[in-house]
């Protein structure tokens, strides 16, 4: 294979070859190459197929703006990554890469038929092509679209890599290490300020790496760069981060950085994180992001071998690679001429320079003549040929009056284009900084900043090297000064720099039918100039609408190379100036960023904390299945060997009803409310009246929001006149305490009350069943457990198993029950002691599922399951819990609003299915008439539904419009395949007289 490497050129280490593969073929590149430069050195331009039309594509650029050259990289099991830009992917020994978006092969791709069917894929094709017939949508269109959509293949195995993250603070953060960024970092660094300098590339230098002509302070650009690097490395107060992309700029000078640590290494250390996400809080920020070259828009501008001229120059000067043996230049900007000259000087035959502008400065013309390069100024390009690589370019003269003359075909193997340069304003835009339109340059520039930031260099529209250095130095010094350091801007002398100018274009003039031209604006999403004009003709006038309709700028490159061309064409089509049409919003991240980097350490067990009770370990050892309840994991049921969940729950229920069960209720939220005004505070927070509750007694408490809807409930004990032991739902604990704090701190700061969360201080063991008292009687000291002394809804302090306890006599099952609160550290010991002592009664540990069934049999609600934030006490059948004599409590006033008293409110009822074996699905919708036409009127839904072992049939609760008045009626529950019927009943299914509570 012919080599396109030029031995004496470039910065890659030509003494250090590396071997890599692309689509299974083996290639050799050099250390310092990107995949793009290494493939180009091997004469490979065809790198992938386009997204929509599957057109063959090559490398458009040499940087992170690349829209075409997306490849899959495979670094071993679980380490496949799609959509890596070949232009920033560093090659190393053993790198394996594949092209994307084609079948069966890159060179022969069936999907390319889309290219011939382009009329189906015009702007808004999603909304047009696949509309009719309606029945085709589910079965035909959607599967095809989903199958064809997406770029690259997603990896399917878990990512074995680790990702790090860290915070950092600095005085001055400099983004970009081109001339402006380097000058800024040097002056800020010299002031003693703490500086972080970041650059997305593997080495510092930015545009300097691609230039060879200009000199700085009497040195060559590269010599100066070497000195600048050494100077920065010698400053202890300066941190230089390469391979690090500033991905987002957030409030108060917080900048997100993604540092790539191991992707460039053939053998990364086993324990090294792959990437590190930095969150840098900077006192001052200097943005020196540089600029991106604009493509020209003409038919066939996407053929492999058609490339940005500045990128071709980068490949030549930085990587020592000529992108062709017979390139043609097409440009409207002087900078492309420099690419032509550099190539010609390197011995490449430049076939022609086609400049759109009729007049080009004399010194460029002279240089071209001296190098023997033909110049066609005032010409246009109207087409290209070549199937998998450009073979010729069709050029036409354009008269002063704009008439396109007859075409001439020029053979070439590369076409290097330049439409000028666009400042990178992405990070500045993240901060909502104002953008100013520069009419002469047809570009947006950073205007007034919203953050403590400065822009410098090409990213600020300052393109000359001398001016960029001066602006960078000034920005660095000013930033350091604002951060409190004495700083001075250095001055630089630049020699040999040409003043470059350019003109701006929309689509290039052509003599061909523009309605058939594929002149690409957005290469990654396959959007052409005519798509944008079509969108405007169809009525889309706002740039945000045009963007979404055509998808221009919506690909993973966020339109880095396409936005301004798209804007110029849209502005022409809607006949409004570009700044009035405006730019679409830039959003972080600047370049695609891995999910791994964002997740950082927060994955697997560290994704979320798992709260465990003191008794959790016992449950685990005794074979419990667990379920998550808010952040807690709770024992769900305790299956015996070979037992199904259904059988285990039925056994646990039976045991509680017939003898004795034990349940870990430690997750209940607990709040200690103490102070002289404790009862008054309780009166205001809960619906119930607390004044007359005697110490030693419990009461069910109901809490509303100010809107009158149920927020939480729980059993509350009064220990002394000034001390309440409040319990809340497991998931509601923090919310309830927060709400109490809110009222206490901001509405009633005069009340003398103190609130303390004690959820984790108490372990709670619930004992339920006819034998509950028998079990604890011998174990309790200091409390008379007789029914008279310690009736249902009592609380007392004493000892159990020798440790202090707050003993509640309370039941959430309808059986004789106790909740034994002991200090958390004794929880497991007491549990084990009760379990041992309970063997004589066949004591059965049970989990949350059995608890749910038992409470449902009694019609006890679970807040959040049977209520949903729109349920009033009356809706839930809890009107009795309201202290009607109280003048006020949170939510009271709302209960008398007209809407809260309507007869057709959804009310909680019981349901008994006609077929006793049918257990309805929770959440199933309820209708009154099952034969009505679709869509049916839904009058409520099932909230709880279980198999009741005690009753030998299913039971359910539901909320139904006007439900209470419907008792005895039959309702219908349509489910896929079958409609169930059920009778509306009361909510208490078992022991309605509550005889068992005091048995």
């Amino acid at each position: 294979m012919t080599s396109y490497r030029i031995p004496e050129k470039g910065r890659v280490n030509q003494g250090k070859p590396v071997r890599f593969t692309f689509n299974g073929a083996s290639y050799v590149g050099f250390e310092g190459d990107t995949l793009a430069s290494a493939l180009l050195a091997n004469g490979v331009h065809l790198i992938g197929r386009s997204f929509k039309y599957h057109r063959p594509r090559g490398f458009l650029s040499a940087g992170s703006e690349e829209p075409n050259a997306l490849v899959g990289t495979d670094r071993g099991p679980g380490r496949f990554e799609p959509n890596t830009r070949a232009t920033v992917l560093e090659v190393f020994d053993g790198l394996n890469t594949t092209s994307q978006n084609h079948w069966p092969s890159l060179k022969r791709d069936i999907g390319a038929v889309n290219d011939a069917l382009y009329m189906l894929f015009s702007a808004g094709f999603y909304y047009k092509t696949f509309m009719w017939p309606k029945s085709f949508w589910n079965k035909v269109y959607e599967p095809i679209i989903r199958g064809a959509a997406g770029l690259g293949k997603s990896p399917t195995t878990p990512d074995p890599d680790t990702y790090a993250s860290r915070f950092a603070h600095c005085d001055v953060l400099v983004v970009g290490s081109g001339p402006a960024g380097l000058a800024a970092a040097l002056d800020a660094g010299k002031s003693g300020a703490k500086v972080i300098l970041v650059d997305e590339q593997a080495e510092l230098g930015g545009s300097l790496l691609s230039e060879t002509d200009a000199g700085i302070n009497g040195q060559s650009g590269w010599q100066w760069l070497e000195e600048a690097r050494s100077a920065l490395a010698a400053m202890n107060n300066v941190t230089v981060l390469t391979r690090t992309t500033a991905i987002g700029y957030y409030h108060q000078n917080l900048v997100g950085l993604c540092q790539r640590l191991t992707d460039h290494l053939p053998n990364p250390p086993a324990d090294a994180p792959r990437e590190r996400l930095w969150k840098v809080r900077a006192h001052q920020v200097v943005l020196a992001q540089g600029s991106i070259e604009k493509p020209l828009v003409f038919e066939g501008n996407d053929r492999p071998g058609v490339m940005l001229a500045g990128s071709a120059r980068s490949y030549l000067n930085r990587y020592g690679v000529k992108v062709g043996n017979r390139p043609v230049i097409v440009t409207s900007h002087d900078s492309a001429w420099l690419a032509a000259f550099d190539l010609a000087e390197a011995g490449v035959k430049v076939a022609a320079i086609i400049d759109i502008r009729p007049n080009v400065s004399g010194h460029l013309m002279e240089s071209a003549a001296a190098l023997g390069v033909e110049v066609l100024s005032g010409w246009t390009v109207t087409g290209t040929s070549g199937r998998l690589r450009v073979a010729s370019v069709r050029a036409n003269p354009v008269s002063r009056s704009g008439v396109v003359g007859s075409a001439r075909t020029i053979a070439c193997d590369a076409l290097l284009m330049s439409g000028g340069w666009t400042p990178s304003i992405h990070l500045f835009s993240h901060t909502k900084g104002k953008l100013d339109w520069n009419e002469e340059g047809q570009m947006f520039l950073p205007g007034e900043a919203t953050e403590e930031s400065r822009c410098a260099g090409a990213g600020n529209g300052v393109f000359s090297l001398a001016a960029a250095l001066a602006e960078g130095a000034a920005a660095g010094a000013a930033a350091a000064l604002d951060a409190g350091f004495a700083a001075k801007a250095a001055s630089y002398r630049v020699d040999g720099e040409l003043v470059l100018t350019g003109a701006n274009n929309r689509e290039l003039p052509t003599d061909r039918n523009t309605s058939k031209a594929k002149a690409f604006v957005d290469f990654q999403n396959d959007v052409t100039a005519k798509d944008i004009r079509l969108a405007v003709r169809e009525g889309f006038k706002s740039i945000e609408h045009i963007k979404r309709y055509t998808t221009t700028g919506m690909a993973t490159d966020q339109g880095k190379t396409s936005n301004i061309n798209g804007l110029a064409i849209a502005s022409d089509a809607v006949k409004r100036p570009a700044p009035a049409v405006g730019l679409t919003t830039f959003r972080p991240p600047y370049t695609p960023t891995t999910f791994g980097a964002f997740a950082g350490y927060n994955r697997g067990e560290l994704f979320e904390v798992t709260r465990k009770t003191p008794i959790d370990g016992w449950a685990e050892q005794n074979g419990a299945e667990f379920e998550p309840v808010s952040l807690w994991r709770r024992a769900w049921y305790f299956p015996k060997k070979g037992e199904t969940m259904h059988a285990a729950v039925a056994r646990e229920c039976k045991s509680v009803r017939e003898s004795l069960g034990m349940f870990d209720a430690s997750t209940l939220g607990k709040i200690e409310i103490v102070g002289p005004d404790a009862a008054e505070f309780m009166n205001r927070m809960y619906t119930n009246s607390w004044t007359k509750l005697a110490p030693g007694r419990l009461r069910y408490g109901l809490m509303l929001g100010e809107d009158g809807f149920i927020r939480d409930d729980g059993v509350i004990g009064r220990l002394t006149t000034d001390r309440f032991h409040v319990t809340t739902t497991t998931g509601g604990a923090a919310r309830v305490l927060g709400m109490m704090e809110d009222y206490l701190q901001t509405e009633w700061p005069d009340l003398k009350v103190w609130l303390t969360s004690t959820t984790e201080q108490w372990a709670v063991i619930a004992l339920n069943g006819p034998n509950a008292r028998k079990l604890i009687e011998p174990l309790v000291e200091g409390i008379d457990l007789s029914d008279e002394a310690f009736p249902h809804m009592s609380v007392a302090e004493g000892k159990i198993c020798g440790v202090p306890t707050r003993l509640f006599r309370v039941s959430f099952t309808g059986e004789l029950g106790y909740e034994i609160n002991v200090p958390a550290r004794y929880g497991r010991a007491v549990w084990e002691e009760l379990y041992r002592a309970g063997q004589q009664h066949g004591i059965t540990p049970y989990g949350t599922e059995t608890m749910h069934v038992l409470r449902a049999e009694k019609g006890y609600i679970i807040v959040g399951q049977d209520t949903d934030g729109t349920v009033t006490p009356d809706d839930a059948g809890l009107g009795w819990a309201i202290g009607k004599a109280k003048p006020d409590f949170v939510g009271k006033r709302s209960l008398t609003r007209p809407d809260m008293q309507k007869a057709d409110r959804k009310q909680l009822v019981g349901l008994l299915t006609t077929d006793p074996n049918t257990v309805l699905e929770e959440g199933a919708q309820i209708v009154l008439d099952p034969s009505q036409t679709l869509p049916m009127k839904m009058v409520g839904h099932v909230t709880s539904s279980y198999w009741s072992a005690a009753l030998g049939r299913s039971i359910a609760m539901a909320v139904i419009e006007g439900g209470k008045a419907r008792e005895g009626e039959t309702i219908h529950v349509p489910t896929p395949g079958r409609t169930h019927t059920a009778k509306v009943v009361g909510t208490v299914f078992f022991d309605p007289e509550n005889k068992r509570l005091s048995a």
């Binding site: 957030y250 409030h251 917080l254 100010e706 927060g738 809110d742 003048p887 006020d888 009271k892 609003r897």
Partner: protein, 100 residues
Amino acid sequence: MLLIRCPYCEAERPELEFTYAGEAHIARPADPSKLNDDEWKTHLFIRSNPRGTHFERWRHQHGCGRFFNAVRDTVSDKFAMTYKAGLPRPTETELEKARS
């Protein structure tokens, strides 16, 4: 991520430590039963939702636990100032001073 100054801790802390708690300076009526339905509706549901200066409450949930008031611009997200619960709404002059 915002940096928010807790007026009780007298320190700037990252947003992660705080929770938002709605519009400020909406006092619960001393006797809600005195309000007619319309007045109660206004108290309960009607908020100013301005574009620009917003008086709002925050809680230093994972710090001192206190509720406090803040003045934030809903467009730029910039805080002009924070102040303790119970203090009156700052005047325009005080806000100007805080912003500069």
